[in-house]
């Protein structure tokens, strides 16, 4: 372990962390946003569900190198354009996320939906005010998996010359310099952990009802509630 190298290359490390962040945040967001309508559709129709889920499975099995070579040809972008990586990572994100989103909408209790309809929610109101918020916990579990997988998968971009934390691995390999590889691994782990913490914090903040349960201990309220059932 060459600590001196780390000390004199803090600028490079910091820059690659930021690049890694810039390349992984958009695919995570795109994966979430696209999977919501697809997952909702999959939840409403058995046919849509089997088509979308098998399609997701197939997309996820495409080798990343093959995809990174294909994307610029299909999109007509320069081979070194970082958008190629963003696009490829988005495909993987959607492929994983569609299943979670389908499960998320399926997890919303049927009687809650029926009663929402019965009291007069229109279809759109019901989607935004009832189904989407109640799908959040499962959506969140899915997006946490996606964030970790995206952060680690992004490093493959180094093989097609897109600079980010993965470039430490290619450099380390070419120069037989272990320190760089370790720096890359540690930074990727920290970045993945950072995403996870941020996402779970957001999740907690927007689903207060899920964390209110422990207050329900009957003995706390029994004296005051006794006469009202």
């Amino acid at each position: 372990m060459n600590w001196g190298w780390i000390g004199s290359n803090l600028g490079l490390i910091g820059g690659r962390v930021l690049e890694h962040l810039a390349l992984t945040a958009p695919p995570i967001v795109i994966g979430l946003v696209l999977s919501i309508p697809l997952g909702y559709w999959a939840g409403r129709s058995q046919v849509a569900r089997s088509i979308l889920l098998s399609l997701g499975g197939v997309l996820y099995t495409i080798p990343s190198i093959a995809l990174l070579v294909l994307v610029p040809v299909v999109l007509g972008l320069a081979i070194l354009d970082p958008l190629n990586l963003v696009f490829a990572l988005s495909i993987y994100a959607v492929a994983i996320m569609v299943r979670s989103a389908a499960d998320a909408f399926a997890s919303v209790p049927q009687d809650v939906l029926a009663s929402a309809t019965a009291v007069g929610f229109s279809r759109w109101q019901r989607f935004f005010a009832v189904e989407l918020p109640l799908a959040v916990p499962v959506l969140l579990a899915g997006i946490r998996v996606v964030s970790v997988s995206t952060v680690s998968l992004a490093s493959v971009g180094a093989l097609i010359g897109i600079d980010q934390l993965g470039s430490f691995f290619t450099d380390a390999f070419q120069r037989s310099f272990l320190t760089e590889a370790i720096v890359g691994i540690v930074c990727i782990l920290l970045l993945a952990a950072l995403y996870d913490v941020i996402l779970s914090r957001i999740g907690r903040a927007i689903t207060p009802w899920n964390h209110a349960r422990r207050m329900a201990a009957p003995q706390i309220y029994a004296p005051q509630d006794a006469e009202v059932l």
Partner: protein
């Protein structure tokens, strides 16, 4: 007044839930549709707010064919209370009760004020306003469900087996609460139940249904009890097993009074010796006057 005219419902898979059903549901009274599962009672109730549209026939509210009314608008004018309360788990008690007023464009502050007032009406302490449904007992949740159903002061309240998931003691309290509220508010209540005791307790009018929504008997509880239309009704209300037969017990009597016991040996009242008047130990739920409500009938 709600009127079903020759209504049928056939589901796409060929199941005939309801066949050629006609019924007039009087305004400002409690009508209980009672039957076992498969009798189409829930399907019939859901036709009133267009959760289910009939395959043929019409449903009218105060003479208006509801198939001409946009479903979302129709539903916002009809209270709905269902089994397991159907509350929105991600909204607080006050927000749940305020749901329909909010959908109809009432401001947040006004809707909350109204929700708190509704909590008083259904006997919920206001300190529960900011709790989530999961933090309430089953009985409290059903009260919130009733408050939500009443929040827009609808003429019609649909109750779909609302108390079948709570324990018997709480259920009995909630049933009394419905009778109390009805005395105060005089709504047109359509109540679906599979429990004949609940039907007799709550119903001004009881409609006994058989498979496919066939009406076997319809009338006041007293009428049905006195003259079950056929063996099916007799079995359903337990008359054949002598379940509702009362006998005079000498053993339990004091002085010249006579104690009445039901088929289960449970004492239900005393025939006091002077005049032989039946003095029931606790006020019978049936002692409430039915006739005073019919005076206001006409506009459901």
């Amino acid at each position: 007044m709600i009127e079903f005219r020759e209504v049928s419902k056939t589901y796409p898979d060929g199941t005939r839930a309801v066949e050629d059903f006609s019924l007039v549901i009087p305004a400002r009274r409690i009508t209980v549709l009672v039957g076992s599962s498969g009798s189409g009672k829930t399907t019939l109730m859901r036709m009133i707010n267009r959760m289910v549209d009939p395959s043929s026939g019409t449903v009218e509210i105060d003479g208006r064919d509801i198939s001409k009314i946009e479903p979302v608008r129709l539903r916002r004018g009809i209270g709905y209370v269902m089994q397991n309360s159907g509350l929105l788990p991600h909204r607080t008690v006050a927000e749940n009760i305020a749901t329909v007023p909010r959908l109809s464009g009432v401001s947040r502050a006004d809707a909350r004020k109204r929700a708190l007032a509704m909590m008083d009406t259904v006997g919920l302490v206001r300190t529960l306003a900011d709790r989530y449904p999961s933090q309430l007992s089953g009985g409290q949740q059903q009260r919130v469900g009733v408050a939500r159903g009443l929040a827009i002061d609808p003429n019609i309240l649909l109750m779909d087996e609302p108390f079948s998931a709570v324990d018997p003691i709480v259920r009995a309290e909630l049933q009394q609460e419905v009778l109390r509220l009805q005395k105060e508010l005089a709504k047109t209540i359509v109540f679906v139940s599979h429990d004949i005791d609940e039907a007799f307790l709550l119903g001004d009018e009881v409609v006994v249904l058989e498979q496919g929504g066939r009406i076997v008997q319809q009338g006041a509880p007293e009428q049905i009890l006195a003259e079950p239309a056929n063996d099916f009704v007799a079995t359903f209300i337990g008359a054949d097993r002598g379940k509702r037969r009362l006998t005079i017990s000498d053993a339990a009597s004091r002085g010249d009074d006579r104690v009445l016991v039901d088929a289960g040996g449970y004492p239900v009242g005393v025939i006091a010796a002077p005049g032989g008047r039946l003095a029931v130990g606790h006020p019978s739920p049936k002692s409430r006057s039915i006739s005073n409500k019919t005076d206001q009938a006409g506009d459901a």
